[in-house]
């Protein structure tokens, strides 16, 4: 795969505030890469550095394996779809779409057909003479996309392009954008904080948090093998246990948690006394009235929610921690108030080796109340 964009050791400070802390990742040609992360984590800042509106404090951005630090935005073969569209209000639809061509010195007669072609691409043929205030939000969005694509950029940057649209239109535009990207084969760098959108559209997702990269991987890998508690929490729902490897035998690896103990697959690379996080997805959690070998986690059924095709349940552990469990809609549920034990298939547990940073994050999260009591271990 050909490298399109590479960020090496990118740092960005605003005054004394470190906004981006050592960002490294590569975007390949024709890829749909999404930057996903909570508000304020630096997604827009990163995008603006790629576009050239912002200069990194240190580090290097490569486009096509050539550094771009000396290229102003108008010399980069990168175009942007802005969050608020940023269409020129004094120009017609056709003039907006043709703006890039005009700047490139294409004569007016040649612009017309290309503009029309672009409008057709975004399914707005014949809208050329309209004024912007005669367009709906979704139409404006598509004009912004057509305008950004007309110069055939190597990379298209999209900063939350759908966030201003209502849910139905957003779903429709997601499909349309994906169709367009496949058809044109242009590299997309897409920003969103909607994880569902990211999972659905992306080839790979870069999960960002507080100015650094947590993990970059394809959606399935992110879900099945999150590398950090943050990713486990951010992509889909998770139950996260905090514990200590207490015993390693030939066949078993036992982890002591506040509410008891659990067993890991023996091939997990851990050592005794190591502090670890164990992530278990709600749909993998099982409940039984009798204890299952290898597990000792008592729980009481607290609540059930009916959510269409699935049932969502909350199980209460002795220390008060709420454990999420999802089961198929047609499955018989244990009665509320019933006591028993939780367990899961050994292969379903995800091991996350804890760094001090991760433990800190766990404290941030109310679900991890147990950490406070266990802390200092």
């Amino acid at each position: 795969m050909k490298e399109m964009i590479r960020l090496s050791s990118i740092k960005k400070n605003y005054g004394d505030v470190k906004i981006i802390k050592d960002l490294n990742f590569t975007v390949y040609e024709g890829e749909f890469l999404t930057m996903l992360g909570p508000s304020g984590c630096g997604k827009t800042t990163t995008l603006r550095m790629i576009a050239g509106f912002e200069e990194p404090t240190s580090g290097e951005i490569m486009l096509n394996e050539k550094p771009v630090s000396n290229l102003p935005p108008y010399k980069r073969k990168i175009n942007t779809v802005f969050q608020n569209y940023a269409l020129f209000p004094h120009l017609t639809v056709a003039q907006n779409v043709g703006f890039g061509l005009k700047m490139a010195g294409v004569p007016k007669v040649k612009r017309g057909p290309q503009v029309e072609k672009m409008l057709k691409l975004v399914q707005l043929e014949g809208y050329g003479n309209r004024k912007l205030d005669q367009l709906s939000g979704g139409q404006k969005q598509r004009i912004a996309i057509a305008r950004a694509l007309i110069n055939h950029p190597q990379v298209l940057l999209l900063d939350e392009p759908l966030s201003a649209l209502d849910l139905k239109l957003r779903k429709q535009m997601q499909l349309e954008l994906k169709r367009l990207q496949r058809k044109l084969g242009i590299t997309f760098v897409y920003v969103t904080h909607d994880q569902e959108e990211a999972l659905m559209m992306s080839d790979r997702i870069a999960v960002m948090n507080k100015g650094h990269l947590e993990q970059i991987a394809d959606p399935r890998t992110l879900y099945e093998q999150p590398k950090t508690c943050f990713v486990a929490n951010f992509i889909g729902e998770s139950n996260i246990f905090y514990g200590k490897v207490s015993e390693i035998t030939k066949t078993d690896t036992k982890v002591t948690i506040e509410n008891g103990y659990l067993t890991l697959q023996s091939d997990k690379p851990v050592f005794e006394k190591q502090i670890v996080n164990i992530v278990i997805r709600p749909e993998k959690v099982k409940f039984s009235t009798t204890e299952v070998p290898g597990f000792h986690i008592p729980a009481t059924v607290a609540e059930h929610y009916y959510a269409g095709n699935v049932n969502k349940s909350v199980l209460r552990l002795p220390n008060g921690m709420a454990l999420k469990m999802t089961s198929a809609g047609d499955q018989k549920l244990p009665e509320i108030g019933k006591s028993g034990f939780v367990y899961w298939e050994l292969a379903d547990a995800i091991l996350i080796k804890t760094t001090s940073d991760d433990v800190f994050k766990a404290v941030d999260n109310p679900d991890f109340s147990m950490v406070n009591q266990m802390g200092g271990d």
Partner: protein
């Protein structure tokens, strides 16, 4: 019912009275500008001769010329400087910006006499002779803040990302300015220029301090003439000025209405 009729009567006569107060003096001036008698007491007969006299009065005509020269040049300069200043102050952060922000409005609020004297003393300090040049300089000085004010109020309504979008699409900063920012600013620039021109052509006080003997302006000339009594000639001048203003306002109104109609039709 009768009670409300009474109220209506009083309301209407009050409004009528206000109009009489406002427009009667103007009407008197217009009427007496056509009076054959030199005295503004009795209407003796109809004549255009005062108008002819005005147009043949060398002093008045050269003063008018000066006023137009000063008005046009100082408006042009103030508009350019004020517009660029407004953009610069919006875009860039520099030390002392907050202070400049406040200082800028001093020429608007301080008494004109003070500004006039201040300019006069600067001119004599710097050895600048009082002439059309010093007059233009003075007018530019008090016009700039008005341009900055109007352009700025327009600027805050313009989305900053529009310029970035232009750069993104391949426009150099200069092209982005000409193609995007300037067209969007035009209404603000025009009203700033209009303000400046209006202020410049009828300024008396500051001009009084900053002009030389050979470069008197129209308002100063009229002012000088009035000292010896109000002649029908002055009435004629005033009527002409009113005519220009009324025509200007009417043209603007017609233009606005037709623009509105055009945009509605679309």
């Amino acid at each position: 019912m009768t009670r409300s009729k009474h109220v209506d009567f009083w309301k209407n006569s009050l409004i009528g009275l206000v109009f009489v107060f406002l427009y009667l003096p103007i009407l008197v001036i217009i009427v007496f500008s056509f009076n054959t008698s030199k005295l503004n007491i009795l209407f003796k007969g109809f004549t255009f001769k005062w108008y002819a006299l005005v147009f043949h009065n060398v002093q008045i005509m050269s003063a008018l010329e000066n006023t137009l020269i000063v008005g046009i040049i100082s408006t042009a300069l103030a508009t350019i400087i004020g517009t660029l200043g407004a953009i610069g102050m919006q875009k860039y952060n520099f030390p002392g910006k907050a202070i400049l922000d406040k200082v800028l409005y001093i020429p608007i609020v301080i008494p004109e006499v003070v500004l006039g004297i201040a300019l006069l003393s600067i001119y004599s300090l710097a050895g600048i002779p009082l002439s059309l040049f010093s007059l233009i300089l003075a007018h530019v000085t008090f016009c700039i803040p008005f341009v900055v004010l109007t352009v700025r109020s327009r600027l805050v309504g313009i989305d900053q990302t529009l310029e970035e979008a232009a750069l993104d699409l391949g426009a150099t900063p200069l092209k982005a300015f000409i193609q995007v920012l300037l067209p969007l600013l035009i209404p603000g620039i025009i009203s700033g220029a209009g303000f400046s021109f209006a202020l410049s052509i009828d300024d008396v006080i500051i001009s009084f301090f900053t002009t030389g003997p050979a470069s008197t302006t129209f308002p100063l000339q009229v002012y000088a003439m009035v000292k010896t009594g109000i002649t029908p000639e002055i009435n004629a001048i005033s009527t002409l000025m009113m005519l220009v203003i009324v025509v200007g306002i009417a043209a603007n109104a017609i233009f606005q209405v037709s623009k509105l109609k055009r945009s509605k039709r679309k």
